[in-house]
């Protein structure tokens, strides 16, 4: 098991808390208006109605669980992988809307607040997603970094690399 430098572990911790916090916050905003989020997904014109219905409830829950786990540093790599999947899906949806020229009044990425970017899907949203995606990948590779429940439960590996419980060390 490779021991990461303290600076890298510090970076991983920052990425973990930032991405986790934002995912949990985004989920909270979506829970405030599930119908509005469903309208937002529908406006992207990617999914059929029955999948819009499922997604309107599933995305906030998955975001919330992954976000809270990331902030806690529990199952960190698994949660970061989920975030990579979610952010990848959002990125695909945003680029798809921009390429197809579909009229979408709100991105719905962070509810109605818009966070860093507001209004219709734009390159600002793409940049925001790419940054968060990169941070999630850092956490996937490095693990929970400083702090985090994983370090307490599973040691330095963060619970999913070689040397973790049930995984033979190299």
């Amino acid at each position: 098991m490779r021991q990461h430098k303290p600076s890298v572990r510090g970076l991983a911790m920052v990425c973990r808390v930032v991405v986790g916090g934002l995912m949990a916050y985004a989920a909270y905003l979506k829970f405030q208006g599930i119908p509005a989020f469903a309208d937002g997904i529908k406006a992207f014109k990617i999914l059929p109605d029955h999948l819009v219905y499922v997604s309107a409830f599933a995305f906030p829950w998955i975001e919330a669980i992954a976000g809270v786990l990331l902030v806690l540093g529990l199952w960190t790599r698994g949660a970061a992988l989920v975030c990579v999947g979610l952010l990848g899906a959002f990125l695909f949806a945003i680029i798809s809307v921009m390429v197809r020229g579909v009229v979408v009044t709100e991105c719905s990425c962070f509810g109605k607040t818009g966070f860093l970017c507001s209004g219709p899907p734009s390159w600002c949203h793409v940049a925001q997603d790419v940054i968060l995606l990169s941070m999630s990948l850092v956490v996937c590779v490095v693990g929970c970094g400083f702090g985090g429940v994983d370090r307490v439960l599973y040691g330095r590996s963060g619970g999913s690399g070689p040397g973790a419980a049930g995984v033979p060390a190299a």
């Binding site: 109605d49 219905y53 975001e63 698994g78 989920v82 009229v103």
Partner: protein, 233 residues
Amino acid sequence: MLMPMRALAIVGLGLTGALVHSWVHAPLTLRAPEPDVGKPLELPPQQTPGDGPAQAGDIREPEPGRGSKAVPEPRETQGQNPAPERTTPDEPRVTDQAPVQPPSPRAFDVLTFGKFIDFDQTKYLLQFVDSGQVTFIDARHDQAAYEAGHIPGAIRLSADMFDNADAKVDEFINFYDPSARYVIYCTGGDCDESENTRNRLYERGYTVTHIYKNGWDEWVTKAGAPVMTGDQP
């Protein structure tokens, strides 16, 4: 191997939460069904065409007491919607003063109007706004766009106003008859705002709602289509 397994477990937990949540949450309406038939419309006396047997959807003489523009009453006691307040010349005004044309020779049977209606059907329905038989709803979420111009008599009611429990929504629900006829429009073309507002209205029992498909973008290009500016209907 542990990482993807845990990722799958998180997704599974999320889906379980979503399942329970969707169970306890009020049903979402993603696409309200075709509108109910609704009531036939009665044209005001001065525009009533010649004699003839009345048929479903035909223009008929109003019954005494109908189409009153009196102060709106709560919907429990009224059969029609209140007519929107007209404005004085000092206030927001109709910029195109062309009067609403009488019905075209083409016979419109409103009882056959579907979810989407075109410009001619929309303009036909506009003449029933003053009598309160039809209410226009501007579903655009942008208040500035509404103030810059809207169809005379149209109330701004966007889907996010329903989601944010806006006071105007409560006012609307209290005063407007769910069985009356409504025309909803947004920017036009690809905009979903009309559909979203229609869904919210459907969830609240308003089942005779039509969408002016080509919306505001088409309305402003048509000759003789009146336009109102300002924040009043």
